[in-house]
Subunit: 452 residues, 2 copies
């Protein structure tokens, strides 16, 4: 099945059916493009986050972790430019009473005649565009006045910049060094959509890398390459990844270079991760607004405002890319199957333990014991429901790389069958060696199977 | 040092100094009782969350994970009773213009004369109490009308109840089963304070366990015991933990039993975790408000609304309890030291790698190589700054259980010194065996050292 045959609808349907993702607040009619993650969705997101933190923090000695608050002092967002400029142009339709992004009219549908696009029909009577700020507002404390006005952060990055001095002093760092953070951000999108691709609350993984100004260009190139390789390491197919460098007209005024690592989603090439050379803009802004000098002073008295290189990605976009990349409908013999060919590193369940005949006490006991042993170290699942073929197909759909089946032969020689999700090859392994077999299998390099 | 000598101020000072926790938005004058977590704080919180998920989800077969949205359909909070009743009584002082919780006046200070308590002085001219809703409000979408009004969730539990049917159907569960969730919740506290003990945004870890009504009492007792043991397993001292059952007058009207697992914080015995027998209240409310029947229908047509047992805790309260429990000031020989005697399972850094003489090339190279090997599997730190004694004291203060020192003897026989944080005992281990030594050490049961 070619990647182009994978539609967002098919992926949404599978994730719903198998409990990865549910439309949020569904019993109350939902809430726009908001989603809740079910069991497998949570496990998979946790793997993505853990792998990011491992690559960005644990396995390096030049990056430290941070977890700043979601509701910061509102002056942070004045300094960053978000209060004045984090806006989208908005138009109202006087006929259908809906609102649209003025710069995305071609993607919007008229509320009265959904088949007609608002920009193209005489039905739609649009107002002049006005600027709509995408930050969610709220009030902190019991006083409802201007002083209590606050925002939900639209990005985690600013929480990093305002802690620059703390890390410099207390974590005893000097450039080049980075600060990494994962956490929820909120944007009041006018037109969210495309499943998890554009949602109002999402989990960012951002790292701000502070460098001597003269080295910024070199570090910018380094991080584009480094992050691209990280996505490859998740198992995303090479042909579905590319780097697109922004033209000068597309970049922020302070940026001297921005690249998108793009993925070929079913809706086309779109940003998966952005890497930006932000220069001294952020630290300079916060120095001016806070009165606290955010600069590096070396032991010899050298003094400069570090430049910042920022790789920024959301778990949601990785999650959708992984699902689209892994989704395959295959015909095996006379049977059709749907399978998620996820890398074992990101698969929500690493292995299934299946007693062939659940009512056979010998098989049931061995399966339970094996499950009890494995679950202390791995995310595994025990399934004793229904026919073995149905159980295999269920595990295929949630992307479980291996299934250990306890069968008649197990009762004779204490070996189990290992079934490989992708090749469907089967081999036998001693039941006592399953844990170390699985441990070794998870360490092996993995690449996506060639298209059938 | 007796636990009663540990003051919150000492713990706050250590966590600030060593980069566990910073007051948030500090360069802008802060924001009430809001905090940002530095490197060690993040690593320690991640360990707490991972251990909770392992105990509550991975190592069980009757609980699944969920991650629901922070901004839900606002009708959820009508059904749950939060819109009408999630309030604190608030009084204004006409003299000092501050606001106080009417039920906590004895803990509050007058703004004009901070030494005087508002309830006790003639200075304060208090209004009659009125009810203040603790939910943060916001607006979703570009329309600013009643329909767009929304709330930041004050608890993760309701996101679980509204997904009850999804899990029942798609995860093919039947009672008894549980749904577990970790994530940020927000409460607009009138008087936050006591460091991280009462903050406006915090990370909850909640699990709703759905059971046949007749079994609710038994499961309630089970979960009180289970959760108490889990906290013991984190290394919290027995004498600082107790269970306090609420009297009938203290409980919610729908609860037939609530127990607090309390910890002896420096501010006294306070709730660490709550375990509540919530009956059928939540599912019944959402059935009535949504029109969707939230009940269990068995294969034989038996039909009931499950009762709910809920253990609910925040990472912040565990984090503070662990730090207070672990904090010790000791005199060792002629030297004083401050040490965090954290369980290795929750310690942010598991081991430090220290070249005794950093400018010695043989030591430096071996230390770097060992660090490179260990960090692929463990959270470890390489430190080649300053005198070895200062480096040990630094690791003591961040609670690192073991330090591997590369010294002269290493150059001769390829062994390193292992220093134990608590006993200060030293032994030698082959450098090639350090990874498996550390792996085994982390598996060993741990209990807090007896008070000196």
């Amino acid at each position: 099945m070619a990647a182009t045959d994978v539609t967002m609808d098919k992926v949404v349907s599978l994730t719903r059916r198998r409990g990865f993702v549910f439309p949020s607040s569904e019993i109350y009619g939902g809430l726009g493009s908001t989603y809740d993650y079910g069991h497998y969705g949570v496990l998979m997101k946790n793997e993505i986050r853990t792998l990011w933190l491992r690559a960005m923090v644990q396995e390096r000695d030049d990056i430290v972790a941070l977890d700043s608050a979601i509701i910061l002092n509102p002056r942070v967002w004045e300094a960053s430019g978000h209060v004045a400029g984090f806006t989208d142009p908005l138009v109202d339709c006087r006929t259908c009473k809906l609102r649209f992004r003025a710069d995305k009219l071609e993607d919007s549908n008229c509320g009265r005649k959904p088949s007609k696009r608002p920009g193209e029909t005489a039905d739609c009577d649009l107002t002049e565009p006005r600027q709509f700020n995408l930050m969610f507002e709220t009030q902190v404390g019991a006083m409802q006045d201007e002083a209590s006005q606050a925002y939900l952060r639209p990005e985690t990055a600013q929480g990093i910049f305002i802690n620059f001095k703390n890390v410099l002093q207390l974590a005893r760092r000097k450039p080049p060094f980075g600060i990494a953070q994962t956490g929820k951000s909120f944007r009041n999108e006018i037109t969210p959509g495309n499943f998890l691709f554009r949602v109002r609350e999402f989990e960012q993984m951002e790292m701000e890398f502070f460098v001597p100004p003269d080295d910024a260009e070199q570090w910018y190139r380094y991080w584009v390459e480094e992050r691209l390789n990280w996505h490859r390491g998740l198992g995303l197919r090479d042909e579905n990844l590319r780097v697109r460098e922004h033209g000068a007209e597309e970049r922020s005024h302070y940026s001297s270079g921005t690249s998108d690592i793009e993925y070929l989603y079913p809706i086309g090439w779109q940003e998966l991760e952005g890497v930006a050379n932000r220069g001294a803009f952020d630290l300079t802004q916060h120095t001016q607004h806070s009165g606290t000098k955010l600069e590096y002073v070396g032991p010899d008295g050298e003094r400069y405002v570090p430049h910042v290189v920022e790789p920024a990605v959301s778990i949601e976009r990785i999650f959708v890319a992984l699902l689209c990349d892994a989704y395959r409908e295959e015909v095996v013999g006379e049977r059709e199957r749907t399978v998620l060919q996820l890398s074992p590193r990101v698969a929500p369940v690493k292995a299934a333990i299946l007693p062939l005949i659940p009512r056979d006490e010998g098989m049931a006991t061995r399966a339970k014991n094996l499950f009890g042993e494995l679950r202390r170290r791995f995310s595994v699942e025990h399934d004793d429901s229904g026919q073995i073929g149905r159980r295999y197909r269920r595990q295929d759909e949630i992307g479980t790389p291996w299934a250990f089946t306890i069968d008649e032969q197990t009762l004779e020689d204490e070996t189990v069958t290992v079934r490989d999700r992708d090749s469907l090859a089967q081999e036998r392994v001693p039941i006592s060696g399953v844990a170390s077999w699985l441990s070794a299998a998870l360490e092996r390099p993995w690449s996506p199977p060639a298209a059938a």
